[in-house]
């Protein structure tokens, strides 16, 4: 994989985090915003080689951990798991593209739910949040909508074509 694409991917993750913390501080329909970094991980993990996709999830998670109040490593764990999940299912998505929307919704909701459970286990009381359901479902819904522009954008940035026959062949 070319270095240029790696740098582009890293830059897009950083920009996604910045957009998440600034623009989506203002644009918050029903007082919720999309989980943009998580969506970028899904979008790029569909095309990157397996190792790079997992490292992308881990790196994006570390960045999110550093910018949040959660314990360092929690988001890394969640986004690495998201990347792994995408790797396992990405070929099936290629076969039936109509599944991509529900898939993004499900993976986002699963990732956020996993974070809620893990952060509660590690003492952050996230499950005590009365708006928890809304904070899981609305970002998932917004991610599903934003997947329409973001996923093709990731495909374009990475030069589109995946040349592999199995989920893990590079």
């Amino acid at each position: 994989m070319k270095v240029r694409r790696l740098i582009a991917t890293a830059a897009i993750v950083v920009i996604a985090a910045a957009v998440q913390t600034t623009m989506f501080a203002t644009i918050r329909p029903f007082d919720a915003a999309p989980a943009l970094v998580l969506l970028v991980v899904i979008a790029f993990a569909r095309h990157l080689p397996a190792e790079a996709a997992l490292l992308l999830g881990f790196g994006a998670g570390i960045l999110q951990d550093l910018l949040s109040d959660s314990a360092l490593g929690l988001w890394a764990l969640v986004l690495t798991t998201v990347a792994f999940f995408v790797l396992r299912f990405r070929d099936r998505l290629e076969d039936d593209f109509s599944l991509i929307g529900p898939f993004v919704f499900g993976v986002t909701a699963g990732g956020l739910a996993l974070f809620s459970v893990l952060s509660t286990i590690f003492g952050e009381k996230t499950l005590a949040d009365v708006g928890l359901i809304k904070k899981v479902l609305l970002p998932s819904l917004y991610n599903m909508v934003l997947a329409a522009p973001i996923l093709p954008f990731a495909t374009w940035v990475l030069g589109a074509a995946r040349r592999r026959s199995t989920p893990f062949q590079l």
Binding site: F24, A32, K125, V130
Partner: protein, 319 residues
């Protein structure tokens, strides 16, 4: 039969990264907000702040468009609401002067200093938390401007939170709605003390220790003398409550600060050390923290370090 060779390379990397993540979590939790994790966070925030400034500037037209769009829909309703508010405020204005004199007398009796006498630093909100679960705001003033850790942050409505991390240029503020935050409060009308706890979003939970106390809808809760200076408005009681038998009195309260749409804030130049906070809590009859192994005493207004301290509530004790 399971053999290591059954695991393909990506799965091995995945498991390795999970183990690494868990190790990082453990190290960070054991450091309790200090050490490497804290240093990395401060560094990341310092490096990331310029990126946020650029992106905020670049995306302002888009954000402004959507904001205008949402304002358009609510314009008529806002007009009517503001007209009603003007009428109401004119009436209140006439009543205020006499109330102000009475409040000054009561505060003098209670030995409470109004927070208005404190120096403050005006700041604007640069960014919000990176996920919906983060009850934090990043403000554009840091240690170079005089902002320090533990300083209270207010908006025109009341208390927003307190500074939990500072770099040279920016500071991170933890909101009062964070579920790990407990604030010592006093009902302004009666002087009864209690603890207000965040629930992530929506109304906060108020616990009073005098089970005979009367709480009515609309009662204003202000900070009691503790971590924060006394008298800052925090929340307004949502519904009247009566005591659960043998326990503390519980009800809910809405924050008076506009936490969902904060633009500009003021950082109050005020900090107290742990010993003073503990003394004040003892005097006011607030619940004492249960010391845990290696843990520092919990605050009356505390952001609980995960897994290091617990606060108990003792029912029925009058302040």
């Amino acid at each position: 039969m399971w053999r290591p060779s059954n695991i393909d390379r990506p799965t091995g990397i995945f498991v390795g990264l999970l183990v690494l993540s868990l190790a990082l979590v453990t190290i960070d939790l054991r450091a309790s907000g200090e050490g490497l994790g804290s240093t990395l966070r401060d560094g990341a925030q310092a490096v990331f702040a310029p990126v946020e400034r650029v992106v905020a500037t670049g995306t302002r037209p888009i954000a402004g468009f959507f904001e205008d769009l949402s304002n358009l829909f609510s314009l008529a309703a806002d007009n009517q609401r503001l007209r009603d508010q003007v009428t109401d405020l004119q009436r209140q204005l006439q009543e205020t002067e006499s109330v102000r004199i009475r409040v000054a007398e009561l505060e003098a009796l209670l030995g409470v200093e109004p927070p208005g006498g404190l120096d403050s630093i005006a700041a604007s909100v640069l960014a919000v938390g990176v996920s919906e679960f983060d009850q934090v705001r990043v403000i554009d003033k840091g240690s170079a401007d005089g902002v320090g850790v533990d300083m209270p942050v207010v908006d025109e409505g009341g208390l927003i939170g307190r500074v939990v991390a500072v770099t040279n240029d920016v500071a991170r503020v933890r909101l009062i709605t964070d579920p790990t935050v407990n604030i010592a409060v006093r009902i302004q009308r009666t002087g009864e003390t209690g603890v207000l706890t965040g629930r992530g979003s929506g109304p906060m939970v108020l616990e009073l220790f005098n089970t005979d106390a009367a709480v009515v809808e609309g009662d204003l809760l202000v900070t009691a003398d503790g971590r924060f200076p006394a008298g800052i408005p925090v929340a307004r009681v949502r519904e009247a409550a009566r005591a659960e038998v043998g326990f503390s009195l519980r009800t809910t309260a809405d924050p008076v600060a506009g936490l969902t749409s904060i633009d500009f804030v003021k950082v109050l130049v005020f900090t107290r050390d742990e010993a003073t906070v503990t003394d004040l809590e003892d005097q006011s009859g607030l619940p004492l923290p249960v010391p845990t192994e290696g843990g520092t005493p919990s605050e009356g207004d505390s952001d609980e370090a995960p897994t290091t301290s617990t606060t108990t509530t003792l029912g029925g004790s009058a302040p």
